[in-house]
Structure formats: structure tokens, C-alpha cells
Symmetry: C2
């Protein structure tokens, strides 16, 4: 079986991506990055899903991005609430973490070289998304090009790295339906920028709103978040 590295946050999109990669026959090496996000429950969801969906391995790398600052997701800055769907996706919100996906995909690339994988799966989405520049197809293509220049495996021609973003053109409702068809238990996912102390979602940030819209449009009750 070909091997793939899956960037697994524990949210709806990355978990669906893992389920899809498994259904396509990949041996999945899941990578979670503990970058000082606000709640441990996200990483617990990642660990649960790696096991439930049959990942070959799940590694957690600690990287304290708070040392760099600059984001409402890593600093003590308020996450915007109740922006409404017209506002979400217009402009880049303060929840943007500087260079986040460059760093996270860089770690995936390192892990891929170590385990001999050439496919990097990321749950990036350019439809129902928060407007981050590093979720766009042109960014992902540029990273793919970089990956093949950056690595021993790429330079020695052992294979060609590909960044796989299968959700990139899907609506949140389509993602939910896909995941359910693959047997994903969304009760163990967390998609919130500002959960409370016990890990319950706020229901009001961009991420919670996009998730709610997705389940509503899919005609399904959200078992989690």
C-alpha cells in the first residue's frame, strides 16, 4: 500500500480527509501539531480518529507558536464572534496564524521523508472557509513544487511529492455527507476557535458557524462539536 501523511488537527475537515485517504487505499501516517492551541480536546479528537479510522501511526509534534505571537488563535486576543456568513471569507481574519500551513506542511514533509511517503493530505478548503491565504490552491501547488526541491527523496528521484487537498472545492455540507458515507463519527471532532474550559465549542466563531451551516444543509444533526 502506498503511504501518505495526513495533517490531522481533530477538526471536521482533517478527519474527513483521513477517512478519504484510507478509503483510497493509503497507509496513513497521521501528524498532529500541538502549537499551543487553546484546548487539549482537539488533540484528543485527533488521537481518537487516528485509531478509529485505522491510521498506521499517529505522531504529535510540539511547537510553541506562541513564541512568535501574532494570532488570535495562539495569543490572548479575542476570537471574533457572530460575524455572520456574509462576513466570513471576506478579508483575512485575526484568527489567521502567520505562515501556519507553510510550517505544518513542512513538518508533514519531514515526516513523509522519514516514513517513505510521497502524498501529503491536508483538509484545506477554499469554499466554506475563513479566508486564509494558505488554504488556496495556488499556495498548495507552490508547496508541492517546493517539496520536490527541498528533500533528499525529491532530489534523488525516489518519487514525486504531491499535496492532496481533496476537500478544496467542496462545500461544508458535501464534506459532512462524504464523511458520513465513509463512517466517520463526527461526535469525536472539534471545530471551534474558542472552546470553553471543558472543550465545548462556543457556537459563535467562524468555524462553529461554518460547521453548523454544513450540517444544516446536509440535513443531519451534528453529533459533536
Amino acid at each position: 500500500m502506498p503511504r501518505a501523511v495526513i495533517l490531522l488537527s481533530g477538526g471536521l475537515d482533517s478527519v474527513t480527509t483521513l477517512a478519504l485517504a484510507r478509503s483510497q487505499g493509503f497507509d496513513c501516517y497521521a501528524l498532529s501539531v500541538d502549537y499551543g492551541q487553546r484546548h487539549r480536546r482537539e488533540l484528543e479528537c485527533a488521537a481518537f480518529q487516528a485509531k478509529a479510522l485505522g491510521a498506521a501511526e499517529h505522531r504529535v509534534v510540539r511547537l510553541d507558536l506562541r513564541a512568535l505571537g501574532g494570532s488570535a488563535l495562539t495569543d490572548a486576543v479575542d476570537v471574533p464572534k457572530d460575524r455572520g456568513h456574509d462576513a466570513i471569507g471576506t478579508g483575512i481574519p485575526i484568527t489567521y496564524v502567520p505562515a501556519r500551513n507553510t510550517i505544518l506542511l513542512g513538518l508533514c514533509l519531514g515526516y513523509a521523508e522519514v516514513v517513505g511517503a510521497f502524498d501529503l493530505f491536508i483538509g484545506a478548503n477554499a469554499i466554506d472557509y475563513s479566508g486564509y491565504p494558505d488554504c488556496r490552491p495556488e499556495f498548495l501547488q507552490a508547496f508541492e513544487r517546493l517539496a520536490n526541491l527541498a528533500t533528499k527523496a525529491g532530489v534523488e528521484g525516489l518519487g514525486t511529492f504531491e499535496v492532496q487537498a481533496p476537500l478544496i472545492r467542496m462545500t461544508k455540507a458535501e464534506i459532512v455527507k462524504l464523511g458520513l458515507s465513509l463512517g466517520v463519527d463526527y461526535g469525536h471532532t472539534l471545530s471551534c476557535y474558542d472552546p470553553d474550559d471543558s472543550g465545548r465549542p462556543c457556537g459563535r466563531c467562524d468555524s462553529c458557524q461554518l460547521r453548523r451551516k454544513g450540517f444544516t444543509e446536509a440535513g443531519v444533526t451534528d453529533p459533536g462539536n
Copy 2:
């Protein structure tokens, strides 16, 4: 003064790069990454030089790359010794850290966005070097392209990110001479893949050999390493 981020390991090349960026009039934000390298002295040299060379700020980000494995620099694997100059630079040695510079430049990019810098300085060298793919000009150019697609600052047109690798075509002797002309105290630098417990260089790894050759050819006694 324009701001620049400098990737500062504490070795000869990165310290010279910091001195050069300062001499070019940049306000320098130095970034060191503690990725589980073998000795604290490297980070102590970085801190010393950031202060000595007048960096505006010096941040250290912890990232345990040992969680990914795959390199003699981060794992419990022997560093090659006494390879001789004919062997150094032919093929990619086991000291190669998978995706190292992709990850480190990604962190520099995040830091640059936070402080409003657009120039990323890295002491990469493609002449007297160990043969790593992510020190080559084509890699650095691909990263520059990525940086402008990856970031809020790039997308909003606040500036254009540039990867500056001023040492890329210099011999080690030229680097030593340049640094000395800029007043660098090389007594507080460490360029060794395998220092002993007290932080003294082994004298036999690729890095030690390249450094010795540089000082010899420059006709100068190495005050450090």
C-alpha cells in the same frame, strides 16, 4: 530602517549573515530554533551574537524534531567522521534533517509577518557545504515564491518577501574574511555536528572540516569552535 528576520543557529555562517544584514542597515530580528540539536552551546552562541551584533530581538522557538526522527543530527545515530574533502558534498549525508530548511524558513516567515519584516536571511551555502538539497538556490527561490502566496502580508500586497542568502556562492574562506572585516568574534560560534559534553567541537565531522579549511585558507587562526 527596514526589518529583517535572520535564521541564527549560532554557527559560523548564520552569525556572519547576521553581521552582514546589520551592516546593510537592517533592523535584525534573530530567530533560533531549538529542534533538539545536540548541545546547548550552539544556542548560547546564538544568544551571545544576537546581543553582540545588535539584533533588535532574539527569539527561540522550541520544536522537537526528534519526534519525527530520520537524521543523525536529531537521532541517536553516529555522525560521519573523517570523510575528507573529496567525499564532503558528494551525495546527501545522513546528517541531513528531513525538510529542515522548509520548516525553519516557515518559522522565519511567521516571525517576519508578526514583526513586519519582508527580508528573510539564511546562511545557506552551496560551495563549501555538506550537500543538503535545501541549501541550493533553486530551493530558496521556490520558498520565496511560496512565501508571497502563503501570507496575509504577501496577499494584501504590503510588501514582497525575499529570501536573502548572501553567502550562497562564497567559499568558507571568503565567509571568514567577510565576518572578520565586520568585526565578528568567531570565538563565540560553534560549527560542529557532534560536540562533546562540554560543547567542544569534535574536529572530525564535515562541518568541523569545512570550518578548518576555511580558516586555513583565509590565513587566520580559528579563535573558537
